[in-house]
Symmetry: C2
Subunit: 357 residues, 2 copies
């Protein structure tokens, strides 16, 4: 089992990564709770809810299931979960356990952060992508106008990552998760990045999964420890996300996966970085790897101006200027302000390049 400690401003929690942890879920509870509400979605729940309940045998457990998909990160579902928690009689000594991917973790975490002004919660991620969102304490729901606009910094009490849950993932979910691992590699670890570029996503061993997720978590943990509230280096984790989030909000969340759009965002950020710093970065290498692993790269025709407007409601935006994370080199990220005219030029040229290949 791989264990990573994460220090937050309010606690220190552990990320346990290994096989079969669900079966023994109870042993990862730090204390006795009056009751435990499992929040899961229709997908993860159908596979793992019974297993999780068995792993918690002897505890007072209730469960609530939300529809799978980004649409559940809404104000309405948020409120409904509060209603469920009240109806189940959860008190301040109760626990919320998020069993699922990033949507479940972000949403259930934000419910925990705000239920009676905050109760404990544990992340039990069941996707590769959620290795990212389950660490660092960012919890949120979406606003119609933008992703994760309503939320808090609220660290979990523990993260329990059972890699045996990952074998039921669809291919696009594997792609989505590995895009974030590739991002962590690009901003922090050249050797790790090169090793990733050699793997075939649909032929991964258990060991590879655990060790690559583990390395991703380590990178993420070291960054969020240095800057929990995203006033500095934590912004670097948004590499690929300025365009990624904009595309996601234009495509309406759900059709394309988060990571697939971040992958396109990373290609774009590499191109802009090359131009801004007059350097050469592994654009072509990443592009080939994405194609080899069937990442969709055929974006619909968007108006460049519309993309820019969406970029501007990104949370990193300050006074309406777009902030973008670029790379001076692999492992050397930097946040840069990009003016609108340059952005138009970059986007046009990038969208053309993307179509050509």
């Amino acid at each position: 089992m791989n264990v990573t400690k994460v220090r937050s401003s309010t606690n220190t929690y552990k990320v346990y990564i290994g096989e079969g942890l669900l079966e023994d879920l109870k042993s990862y509870l730090p204390k006795k709770y009056t009751s435990i509400m499992i929040v899961t979605d229709s997908m993860a729940g159908s596979y793992y809810l019974d297993k999780a309940k068995k792993g918690l045998a002897g505890e007072k457990v209730v469960a609530t299931t939300i529809p799978a998909g980004e649409k559940s990160k809404s104000i309405q579902t948020f409120y409904n979960l509060h209603t469920d928690a009240l109806n189940y009689g959860l008190d301040r000594q109760s626990l919320i356990l998020a069993l699922g991917g990033g949507v479940v973790g972000d949403l259930a975490g934000f419910v925990a952060a705000t239920y009676m002004r905050g109760i404990d919660f544990i992340q039990v991620p069941t996707t590769i992508l959620a290795h990212d969102s389950s660490v660092g304490g960012k919890v949120a729901i979406n606003h119609e106008q933008g992703k994760n606009m309503i939320g808090s910094f609220y660290p979990p009490i523990n993260v329990v990552y059972d890699v045996s849950t990952l074998f039921t993932l669809e291919r696009k979910e594997i792609r989505s998760g590995y895009a974030e691992i590739a991002k962590e590699a690009l901003i922090a670890d050249r050797i790790f990045f090169q090793s990733l570029m050699e793997i075939d996503l649909f032929d991964l061993s258990n060991d590879q999964l655990a060790s690559q997720i583990g390395r991703g978590v380590e990178i993420k943990a070291s960054i969020v420890e240095a800057d929990e509230r995203e006033s500095g280096v934590r912004k670097h984790l948004n590499f690929g996300h300025t365009l990624g989030h904009a595309l996601e909000s234009m495509l309406g969340y759900g059709e394309w996966t988060h990571g697939e759009l971040v992958a396109i965002g990373m290609l774009f950020a590499l191109r802009v970085s090359e131009d801004v710093f007059g350097t050469t970065l592994p654009y072509t290498q990443l592009h080939s790897w994405l194609r080899k692993n069937d990442y969709p790269l055929n974006l619909p025709d968007f108006e460049v101006q519309q993309i820019i407007e969406k970029m501007k409601i990104d949370k990193k935006t300050i006074g309406r200027s777009i902030q973008m994370v670029l790379l001076r080199d692999v492992g050397a990220p930097v946040t840069v302000q990009v003016d609108d005219n340059d952005m138009v030029r970059y986007l046009k040229s990038f969208m053309n390049d993307l179509k050509k290949i």
Copy 2:
């Protein structure tokens, strides 16, 4: 000017209390913000919004006005304020300024706590009651099933209390505010309590107002500094609130003021305390003072069982047992678990007493 420092887990803020502070509001900003969104209600806004804007001359200021009253502490208004903030282009370097009573402060504070995962906010209370809610970092909205069920601990950057705003208060608002001051006195300061019992609420001088609010703030500040997240002594601030909140939720928020119901809750808590500790407390003195100052004491006939059910969804409840703050003596509060059978007996006897006088 009376200045009280409050240390929270994340910052130290100051509560400025004095006359005419609104006119110079700008000088209480700790730094330059990209923009300032004033949140006010139809009542406070009609009196003080222009003044506040003048006091912020030179800053980029926008304002949004919500309907006055507890009903605005809803999930819908919360979401609408997020929409306003996004439409106005607020970023992470922007400020939310809550101009109004407790409803505005709690709601706008919770919006600030969750907008892009938290931006700065300043409390500018315009009621006596808000001396309580503006200090201590509790922000929240209501759930249909209970008051303040959805919220955070999120301290303001400053509290700016202009007592000249208090002269437009209706009598019931003065009563409401002074009930909380009486509560602070009862749990912490016998001499202060005795001095309060001598005043006529509708014949207060400026100096009395500033000094009594100031003393209330000091008591509150010392308690929240010792226990920000309400795991211990902060619960004592709920003296009178177990019954008060239950009545408030049954009466639907708004008809009776918060403080008027807390006043009844304090009488009840004094009666229970006398029984539990076999002592004599100033029940009669408080009762006479409440009558002299026209506090309404004629509750509708409620089913005792219904009151108990409402009490059980109080946030202090642990595993469905009612926790109540009692007094061993004036200035000596203690949290006690009261079992359902005793509670039935106490409530029946108290409701009868209340009718008789």
